[in-house]
Every structure is written in C-alpha cells, then in structure tokens.
Amino acid sequence: MHSSNSLSVFLTTILVSIRLQAAEPAASPSSNEEIHQQLLEMQQSIQEMQTHHQAELDALKKQIADQQSVIDSMKQGSPALPAPPTPPDSKVAPKDSTPAFPTTDASIVPESGGVLPPGNQSPGNQPPASPPAAGNMFPTTDSSVVANGAPATGPSPGLVPAPGLIGGGAPKGSYLNISFDAVVVGAASSDANLNTLEVGDHDPQQRGFNARNIELALDGAVDPYFEGFANIVFKLDNNNQTEVEVEEAFGQTTDLPFGLQAKAGQFFTQFGRINPTHPHTWDFVDAPLVQGLLLGPDGLRGVGAQIAWVIPVPFYSQAILALQNGQGGTGYSFRNPGDTGTFFERQTIDRQTDGLSDLVVTPRLEASYDLTSTQTILGGVSAAFGPNDTGYNTSTQIYGVDLFYKWKPADAEGGWPFVKWQSEAMYRRYEAGQGLDNTFPVAETFHDWGAYSQVVWGFHKGWAAGLRGDYMHMQTSDVTNDPQRQSRSRVSTDLTWYPSEFSKFRLQYNYDMLQSNAFLPSRDENSVFLMYEIALGAHGAHKF
C-alpha cells in the first residue's frame, strides 16, 4: 500500500506542474483570438492528459489492491480457505462471471450472507421455494460443505488439497506430540517389604501410596527419514525422592525399502509380549514374575540398535534383531554389576564392552493369524544371549515364547466387550561364575524357568475383569543364598474401570506363595492394590 501512495503523490506532482505551466501566458500574442484558441487547445490536451493519467493511476491502484488481496488470501490459513493454493490469476477469478477486476473473493468470504449462487445454498431448514438449476427440486451441490471444488475430470496437480484444510484450517498434528501419564497405587500387604515381594521396579514398593510410573512421552517425525520417540519416567522412591530415568529415547527409520526398519538409541528389547510395553498399557498393576525375575525389574532395555523386517508372506510375520549393551540394571541377567556390587551372592566383575561378544543379542520372530473375523492370535519366539558379570567368561541365555489371543465382536462399542488371553513362558540358563578374583567357592549353572497366563474379560463398556496365574521355578542351590532365587507362584485377580479412554481405576488382589529353599522358609502373602491412572496430551494409539 505504501508504494501505491507514493506513486499517486508522484503522479499528482506531475499533473500540478503541467497545470502551472499551462496557466502561464503565451510568449508572443499576435492575436487575442489566436491566443484564446491556443489556450483552449492546451486546456483540452491537458484535460485529456489528466484523464489519461487518472485512468492509469486507477488501474495501477486496482492492480495493487488486487495483488494485495491475493497475498492476503494466501497468507490466510483460515477455515474459510476453500481451495488449494493455485496460481494467483486463476485463484482470484470467480467461477462464473469474469469482470476484469473482481469485487468479491469467495476464497476469503465463502458464506457472505447468502450471496452463494442459487442452488448452492445449504438447504438448512428452509425448503427451496422454486426448483433451482437443472430442474432439480433438491440441490445436488453445496459449496458450503465441499471446499475443494476441483472437478474430478480436471487435471490433478492438487490431488492433495491445501494442507491444513481439514476442519478448522489450523495445521494438523504438530512437530512434537507430548503426552503425560501418571499412575498412583495405594497398597496394602501382609508383607512389610513389598519392594522384594513385587518383582518390577514400577510395581508398588511399599505399603501406602506409590507413584512409580509418572511418564512423559514425546514423539514426532524428525524429518522425512526418521521419527523420534522418548519416554522419560519419574519415579518417587519410598522417601519421596524423585528418580528420573530415560526409559526410552530412540530414532527409527520411516523410509527403508523392503519392509525394513532400523532403530537406534535407548529402547525396550522386543522380547516377548510384555517387556517392550509400558506399564500403563498392562492389564495388571504389577509385572509378571518371569518378567521381573528373568528379564529384570526394569525390563530388558538398553542402548543399542535394532533392525526389523516384515517378512513378505501372506500372513503377518516380522523378524527383529537387536544388539544392545546389556550393561547395568536394565541388562539384569547380563552384564549387571548389581546394586551392591554383588549378583547371586557373587562379587561382580564390571566387565566393560570390549567387542561384539560383550553385547546382548536379541532375535525375535513373531506371526499373527486371524482365526475368524472377530478372533486374532499373535505369537512369537524370542531369545537373548549375552555375557554376565558373575565370572570372567560366563554368559546367559534366555528363551521365550508368547501367545496372545483376542476376541472382539463385530458390533463392539468403544472396544467393548472383549476377551484377551495372554501367556508367556521363559527359560533362562545362567552361568554363575566364581565372582571377582574367584572369591565365590563354586561356579554353578542355573536353569530357571517360569510362565504366566492371564485372561482379561471386558464384560461391560468401561469394565474389565482379569485373572492371572504366575509360576517361577528357580533351580535350587546349596550355596547361593539370594532372596530372588526362591521358587514361587502367584494368583492375581483384578477389576478395572475406565471412566474414559484416558483414565482408569484398578483394584487388584495378589496371593503369593513362596516356596522354601536351603536358606528361606516358605510363606504366603496377601496384597491388595488400588491403582489410579490419568493420561494427558496426544492421543496414543494402541498396538495390537
């Protein structure tokens, strides 16, 4: 607009100067008549010039205003923007009449008080008084609902219409999705030491209130090639001190061919069914025994890299191979120096990563099949191999099988009703060496195995009941006195109420039976948990 002002000032100056010149008398007056005639002619030509300039000026002004409106309309990502950004000339030109300079712009004001052409009006509550176009009594088009007026037969450069046009016009999604999830558990138990009775680090650790899983999840597309995910967990310990853990933080490819996907960072190992998942997706308050005792209280996870391949067969099948450090508490059965520098009573050797053989290798193969249109099974076999810290040349192998079944009827409302049956069995071969400087009297090989099986029945919208059986067999030893090496079983039952998709209450009862061994007596324990969970932020999607 500024440029148009200065232009008009400039033109006005020229006109004024011409007028001034014209007002001066001529040099040699030979005859008054002649002079008068000349003056008249000059006046006439000046007037002509003035009109000419004025017309030019108007045209310029219009052009500028016009361009401005195009710029405005392009800037405006408003809900009203009905058409994909196309070249300005076609954009501004209205569909039907074509005056040189448009006086309205449907792309900016689509519904300006019923100025829509007849037959295009939304019927609303007013029946059309007279048959509109094409002899149709009822309208067959409605420009107020279909913003993208491009005809189907036209060229399709705008195959994907203007981004952000859906609904409100604000851009969809965001660079970073943030969600927050908090789990609070009130616990009562016959065992004063819930932290040893429960096997998972997110499980209740004491009688009273527990907040062991407050997580912040971040995810988004990094660029056209990668997407990123991070899960930062805050845990309140029994003294209400906050522990922070980077539970997961990884990038993964989105663009590899042949159904391949690579991932690198800190991530949960794809071993079995429950290990790679976050506690708020679990069907019970606490971790199954095999999960906590064989893969570890924190779950098996670590810094590493993974490649996954969707195998091109007619049913779903995926092969996954991960390579991770497996060092520290999150590599529990591997190079784990233990919290107090001991593991299975041995003084641990803090073995560093010297080569590939020091890493944990985890292959997994999973497959799924739809039994019927309402029943699906998903099964997998996993293994994890790596060295452990109880000897100079000791290693661990863990094998697992998992099976998941789900039934959901064809007329399910909000995901209800449903039946889910999930089972996992694991076997661990643990070579326990003689510890640092061979200070432990013997080397042993533990063959430990266990399984859990759980059924969850969503019997009424928002309600689910669950039953779980757990068994853990720890090989007996006359020399290794470790409370973790007590064979045990557990029965759990729970009832969950989901007021909405984003909150839930869960009441759970656990009956634990711990068997005697060379060092520990048998005992039974009863525990009751009441869990409350809230989820905020980005709508998480549910994996099968």
């Binding site: 509550n125 399709s156 219409p161 249109s373 909000g414 998709e501 709508h539 999607a541 549910h542 099968f544």
Partner: protein, 301 residues
C-alpha cells in the same frame, strides 16, 4: 542347504512378485470401501479394515492389516482423527512408502470438506471431541460425491491406464446421487424442521442435508456412556420437543435406547453410518435408501 536359499527366494518372489493387474486399495472404514468399489469397479481390489457394524473409533490394530497395508497402492482414510487410535501403529509397521502422508496413495477423505463442530477450544472435559471437527461426514450424499471425486483423482493418478474408467464411474455415481437426492429430499420433505434424538452425535451432516435438527443425545458427551440422570433429562427433552425418533447404530447399547423410547413414545430407528452395517445396504445408495425409509416410517407414526 545349498538349495534352500534360492528356493526360499523363489517362494518369497512368488508371494511378492505376483503380477498385480489390479490396484490394491485399503480403506479404514466401510463407507470409503463402498465408494472405492463404485469408482474402481473391476480395476481394484478393496479391503476395508473396520467392520461396518463396529465402533470406528476403536478398531483393533490387527497385524493382518499390516499385511494388507504393506502391499497396498492406495489407502483411503477419513483423516479427521476418527482413526487416530488405531491406524498410526499399523502404518508404522507396514512401512509402505506409497502410503506416506502427502503421497499419491494416501487419500484423506476429509481434505477439502468443511467439517462441522470444530471445537473452539480443545479440552477432553468435553468428551471425545475431534480437533478437526466432527468426522462423521459421509452420510451427507453431497459430501460423498466430493469424496468419490477425490478417490477417482487418486485412482487415476495411481493407475493412469484406467483413468477414463474411473472418471466415467465417478460421473455415473455423481449422476445417481443427484437423481437420488431428489427422491430422498421428497421423501423427507414432510418432516423438515423436526427434531430427532440420537445415541451419539454423528448425524449432523445427514440432518443438515435433509433439514432435520438432531439435538438430543443419549450420550451426555461424545463417547461418554449414558448416565441415569442424563437419561432422565433426555426423556424430558424428547417429550418437550415431541421427538419421534431415536437413532441408534449397530454398536450402540440398544437396550438404553429402547428404555428411553418406551417411556417417551418415540421410536428406535436402527441406523448405520456404514454400508453393510444394516441388511441389504451393500452400496452407499442402498444405505441412504434404507436410512430414509426407516426414518420416514418412524416419523409417520
């Protein structure tokens, strides 16, 4: 052992390399599948993931869908958050570059459609609202025509050899809808301006097209199950506004609707948003036919 690798490769090639004459189309919902069938005819293979009788907000991300998506040329989805709870992990595992956001093969039906009820402020206190607006827009036949055109453009772009056929089918569909709109409009004309009740707030596009006002809902807020106190309020409103019909869908709790109906004198209208969600509604036109018939029957009483 020597032979096993080449043999494995041959088997894999047999699975993957089958010459695909037809365009492979996957749709999230049955309504898009019905339109894709109209447009694609014999040139396309169509799989719909959600069942027509199932709540489209909560579909299980079954791994078998990954297999379909992995080899699909086209994915047709609503794109207005209706499928946000189950589609993303499927696409993440399918890793099909043809279906990437912005690719020719990714059809988001809501694009170009002006959605209603776009929330001014986002809060889950309002229930299960969608930030992009109400995504149940396909029951407006005029919108269905626009989506059909969108699908036809995508098919033509992905399969130029049959572009003419897709364009012809699209024109045919458009003409059918234009003619049918006259029938439907005439049938529903006597009931214009009437108020209706529905279980879930997903009939606003249908109501706008045919001049109804669906303004009483058995759910207190979208996705929130009816509470006794809310139902008492609903019964009062139905009586006060002399509402004659309560629209329920296959996955809604029919018993609740029946209870409200019996204490108000209104009729329960079993409806569906998706072709094949009701008997004899294999196509989009048949579905709207049945909806119009059922509504007029209920409202005549």
């Amino acid at each position: 052992m020597k032979h096993s690798i080449p043999m494995l490769l041959t088997v894999l090639a047999a699975f993957t390399g089958t010459a695909r004459a037809k365009l492979s189309v996957v749709t999230t919902l049955a309504d898009y599948a019905a339109l894709a069938r109209e447009i694609g005819g014999d040139h396309v293979d169509i799989t719909s993931m959600a069942k027509p009788t199932e709540d489209p907000h909560f579909v299980d991300a079954r791994p078998s869908f990954v297999v379909k998506l992995r080899s699909a040329d086209i994915l047709i989805e609503g794109g207005a958050e209706l499928e946000v709870g189950w589609l993303p992990p499927l696409l993440q595992t399918a890793r099909n570059p043809k279906l990437e956001a912005g690719a020719v093969g990714r059809v988001q039906a809501a694009e170009g459609i002006r959605l209603l009820d776009v929330p001014a402020t986002l809060s889950r206190a309002a229930g299960d609202v969608h930030a992009s607006g109400n995504p149940h827009f396909m029951v407006d036949p005029i919108i269905a025509k626009a989506v059909a055109a969108h699908i036809a453009r995508a098919f033509a772009a992905a399969d130029p050899a049959n572009a003419a056929s897709y364009a012809t089918n699209e024109k045919k569909f458009e003409a059918t809808i234009d003619a049918k709109l006259q029938d439907w409009g005439r049938a529903l004309l006597p009931f214009r301006g009437q108020h209706l009740a529905a279980y879930h707030d997903d009939w606003l596009y249908f109501a706008r097209r045919f001049g109804f006002d669906v303004d009483v809902f058995l759910e207190p807020k979208p996705g929130v199950p009816p509470s006794p106190s809310h139902l008492a309020e609903v019964i009062g409103k139905i009586k006060a506004e002399k509402i004659k019909a309560i629209i329920v869908e296959p996955y809604h709790n029919r018993k609740i609707a029946e209870k409200v109906a019996s204490s108000t004198g209104a009729h329960v209208v079993e409806a569906a948003q998706y072709p094949d969600g009701l008997p004899n509604t294999a196509t989009y036109v048949e579905l709207i036919d049945v909806l119009v018939t059922r509504l007029t029957t209920a409202l005549k009483n």
